[in-house]
Amino acid sequence: MKQRDELVVGVTVFAALFLIVVGAIWLSQADLGQGGSRFTARFRTVGGLGVGDPVVLRGVRVGRVAEIRLGERNYVEAELQVYRDVAIPPRPAIIAASASLFGEWQAGIISLDQAPDDPNVRRALDEAAAEGDDLWPGATLPDIGQLTAQAGRIATDIASVSSRVQQAFDSTAVAQLQESIRDFGRVADQIATFTEQQTNVLRGVGVRLDEGSELLTGAAQSLKSSLARVDSATNQGELARILENTQMASEQVREASRSFNELLGAARENQQSLVRVIQAADSVASRIENRMGTVGLLIGDSTLYVETTLAVQQLRQLLADIQANPRKYFKFSVF
């Protein structure tokens, strides 16, 4: 009984201790037997980085933070346990940053040449690197709490600005703004109408352009055919004949021009006679207009016109009576 108790107790104790040890190692993800190297990084502050937090290289866990201690000249030094056979990039640096929104932190190994494009981070890395020893330079990115605080300050500023805008926009300003908006609406309507009209005009222009384009196309085709004819005519000697005809026509035109010049010379010679005739006609017209001479008196005196008309009528009656009764006025006898 006693031996059995001892055995059972021994097994239980061993199992429980085994559970504790193995469980603790498994949970801490300790790299038993892997060895590795230790590096020290220098920070101004490590933020939320703590012992046991992962060390990652390009997102892959390659170690853990083994120790954090205060260093000289207001620095903080973090000991990093990095697994064996991990290729460290040239000019290594450490960026401590939140791994998630829920408070997890990690130390990322980067090359100093590939540091984030953040002036604060750059400054921190340069400052830590300027110490000139073997310690890796380190910088800390702001965690979500700091970002949230910054966002809160921005929100406060926006609230302040909106409050000022609210004060600036009193009822008068709002009414003016409304009126401006109405005016703008009217202008927009007019612009729309004008645009519609111009669109119609442009549409007409476009149609005409189409027609013109068609005419040009026809002309081009005619020219093309003419050129083709010219081309073919050249081949058949017609062009030479056309040129001869053209030359002949040119000579005839030249001859006609010469005749026309001669005609112009004759006309120039008759010009003075014509001027005199025109002056005489003008004189006669002036005398008629001034009621001088027979014609003038006839035109200017209505009595004469009436008498003349009456005389003409009587003459017509006389002629008609002569035609009707010729024997009354003419007497023919042979003997």
Partner: protein, 253 residues
């Protein structure tokens, strides 16, 4: 009323003194190395190994409930892998040691008080003294040592089973994979989580066994007083567990 309070305070101080006296006797009894080691193994079996079923039963259902309640709480706001964090942290730091301690306060504390009370009533303790055995080294030291050693081990197994049951519940009842649960479990893990829980449970075992011995050896007359001593041992043990829990939290967290 004042007299009642003063009497209660005086009784409490007297009890404290008696416990201190018992503890001092036990320490002195540790010199009898021929007596208590072999008896301790027997007590380790009774206090520790035999308590495993009830401890594991409690841990199993604690893990399941924690997993489901954590997922219920986190829905829509917190990633579900934090179920692993909640289950691991809660069981390792608090629920594993305390619930197991309360269960063992009832089982072990009552057992010790009833056994020693009966021995006292039946004058077996007097017989031991007559045979030149120191009751402290023969009765108290093995029980207290066994409880102090075995409580952390029982709690460790209970914690492992509780986390395991939480994992099984999360994988089968929630939309959570084993990898996600383990990720959450490891997320904020520190070795302190383990040793803090074990240290607490060690103190619980020591206190429960010591109170059980004190209540049992304090019996003077009859079976009725044995029953009262048993009840008292359980109540005092449970109270001490909560007080020590707060004490360690204030001291170490």
């Amino acid at each position: 009323m004042l007299r009642f309070v003063l009497k209660a305070v005086a009784r409490g101080l007297a009890s404290l003194g008696a416990v201190g006296h018992l503890l001092a006797d036990m320490v002195r009894g540790l010199r009898d190395v021929d007596v208590w080691p072999r008896l301790t193994v027997v007590q380790m079996r009774r206090v520790g190994v035999d308590s495993l079923p009830i401890a594991l039963f409690i841990a199993t259902f604690t893990g399941i409930v924690l997993s489901l309640q954590a997922s219920y709480t986190f829905t829509g706001a917190v990633p579900l892998y934090f179920v692993g964090t909640a289950v691991g942290k809660s069981i390792m730091l608090e629920l594993g040691p305390v619930l197991t301690g309360l269960a063992l306060a009832g089982r072990v504390g009552a057992n010790i008080a009833a056994e020693l009370g009966t021995m006292k009533v039946t004058e077996q303790v007097d017989a031991l003294e007559t045979l030149a055995y120191n009751p402290s080294s023969y009765l108290v030291a093995p029980r207290v040592l066994a409880a102090t050693v075995m409580f952390p081990l029982v709690v460790a197994v209970a914690v492992a089973v509780g986390v395991g049951s939480g994992l099984v519940a999360a994988v089968n009842l929630l939309e959570l994979t084993t990898v996600e649960f383990v990720r959450g479990l490891r997320l904020f893990y520190q070795f302190k989580d383990v040793w803090f829980g074990l240290l607490k449970s060690m103190s619980f075992g020591f206190a429960i066994a010591l109170i059980g011995c004190y209540c049992g050896l304090g019996v003077r007359r009859g079976a009725e007083e044995v029953g009262r001593a048993t009840t008292r041992a359980v109540v005092l043990g449970a109270q001490l567990i909560l007080v020590l829990d707060a004490f360690w939290a204030i001291l170490l967290l």
